[in-house]
Amino acid sequence: MSAGTLEMAILDGILTGGVYALMAAGLTLIFGVLDMINIAQGIFVILGAYASYSLEHSFGIGLFEGLIITIPAMFLLGAFIEWAFIRRLGEYNRVSMSILVTYAVTIVIEGVLLLHFGSNYRSLTASYVTQSFHVFGNYLPKIYLYGFLLALASVLVLYFILYKTRLGVSVRAAMDNRFAAQLVGVEVKRVSTLTFAIGVAVTAVGGMVFGAVQPFTPNSSYDLISRLLTIVVLGGLGSVGGALVGALVMVVVEDIISVAWTPTWATLIYFAVLVIVLLLKPQGLFGQREVRAQ
């Protein structure tokens, strides 16, 4: 192993981590505002990938242009699912129920995708998918860089919404204290729907980049969602910045172990790191310390 390989591994990790961060950002927002675990985030990403695929293959719409259609479409789907199912969850047993509801949503979407697309691998193609930039003696794959920049832009947009708009103020209030937000006049129900919809909408972007980087089938969502969940917990539930850091830690740790030692144990080491971090800091890297009620 040469030093250059390790540097490349870290750089790869950062670029890939950005994409995971974007998918996880939606998940962590949904968690923060709706106090639920959205198992369906993985299948939304895959759905986003299939949406880009369909536009590309049926209408010849490019990957980036297609986002103009897929983002609003995923937004509406998210709003519908929140309205139809999530809203009915009570406070009682909320965590368990949210896992079950979103799992049910997952298998329905998976079934529909399987019926329509079958179980063969698909991938998104474009000329730049197999091209790279030559910088400092290293080759940097274009799609990773584009994906990273897109993810970064999307996270910035999320930040802008969160910190510069009235909706963002409501979202942050609802994340901080749902009940209090209601007391000062925040329409928590509406904010919940919008947050869920936004959280799902970003999967259109995440799915597009995911699909361009690796092939997918309707079954691909399960590995993805377990990764995303560990990322948001590592970063601290509800923290968008935490999701960014969590994603980077995940990918970079695995990449370094893969290259410097062996890929056999890389995944295991990441999970071990996660467990150790949570042991030392149960609220995650950027989570708020839990304050015991009364």
């Binding site: 942050r172 209030a173 901080d176 009940f179 007391l183 000062v184 925040v186 329409e187 708020q288 304050v291």
Partner: protein, 261 residues
């Protein structure tokens, strides 16, 4: 309104006016969480500019009344009116716009935000930023602690300080009615006295107070009116003093007969 609540000529406490208007009425209200009704035909009224205290045992539905009035809990049957207009069909924020503000029992501050941000949040419904600023200045005068701790995260304040910030926040909208749910819960006696003092001041500034208080003896002394709630039904209505001196109520809820302490 209903005939059984006509004996509000009794005056006591800080207010000594006669025949004040009934601004808030609950009529045969039924409702609760999930499993079943907590409120089972609750009926009473609140007089304008009064301090009305709701007492009763645990589980009687005192806090439920508070969340029902502020619209967070949707009632199943009956009606709640403000100045004769039904409000139980409205969304929480519309009720808020009508001037009914609640300070709930559990800590309701945004812990990750500063005191200043918290209080400003009280004016979330005011779209005019300038107006929020002006109102904030006024609140700072009423509640010096807001100015003192403006840049401190609300989560870092003591329990009593948090209460005062919550009061300050609820005053941002210049409310007509403030519902206080157990404002002295978990506070030491000195802090509790300070909270009661603030409540009296708020009341003097023209705000109607609906007070749910476990510390019933102290609260009743402060109150002009009292409602005794039991299993979601009104057991007794009267002035604060009447209830305080009622021998049966005293034995049951106030921990002994109503001797002067």
């Amino acid at each position: 309104m209903s005939p059984d609540i006509s004996h509000d000529t009794i005056t006591s406490g800080s207010e000594t006016r006669t025949e004040p208007a009934q601004i808030l009425c609950l009529e045969k209200v039924y409702g609760g969480y999930g499993g079943g009704d907590v409120l089972k035909g609750t009926t009473f009224t609140v007089s304008d500019k009064s301090i009305t205290c709701i007492v009763g045992p645990n589980g009687a539905g005192k806090s439920t009344v508070a969340t029902a009035i502020s619209g967070i809990l949707k009632i199943r049957e009956g009606q709640i009116t403000l100045d004769g207009e039904p409000i139980h069909t409205l969304k929480p924020r519309e009720i808020l716009k009508k001037g009914i503000v609640q300070v709930p029992q559990n800590h309701s501050l945004f812990r990750k935000m500063t005191v200043e941000e918290n209080v400003e949040f009280g004016g979330f419904l005011i779209r005019d930023r300038q107006q929020v600023k002006t109102r904030f200045e006024q609140i700072c005068e009423l509640f010096p602690i807001v100015k003192e701790k403006a840049k401190i995260k609300a989560g870092a304040l003591s329990g009593g300080q948090q209460r005062l910030v919550e009061f300050a926040r609820c005053m941002m909208l210049s409310p007509r009615i403030v519902i206080l749910d157990e404002p002295t819960l978990g506070l030491d006696p000195q802090m509790a006295r300070s909270v009661f003092r603030t409540i009296l001041e708020m009341n003097k500034s023209g705000v109607t107070i609906l007070l749910v208080e476990q510390n019933a003896r102290a609260a009743l002394k402060l109150s002009s009116h009292a409602v005794v709630l039991e299993s979601g039904q009104v057991r007794l209505l009267g002035s604060g003093r009447e209830v305080l001196e009622n021998p049966e109520i005293g034995t049951l809820y106030l921990g002994g007969t109503s001797q002067k302490q």
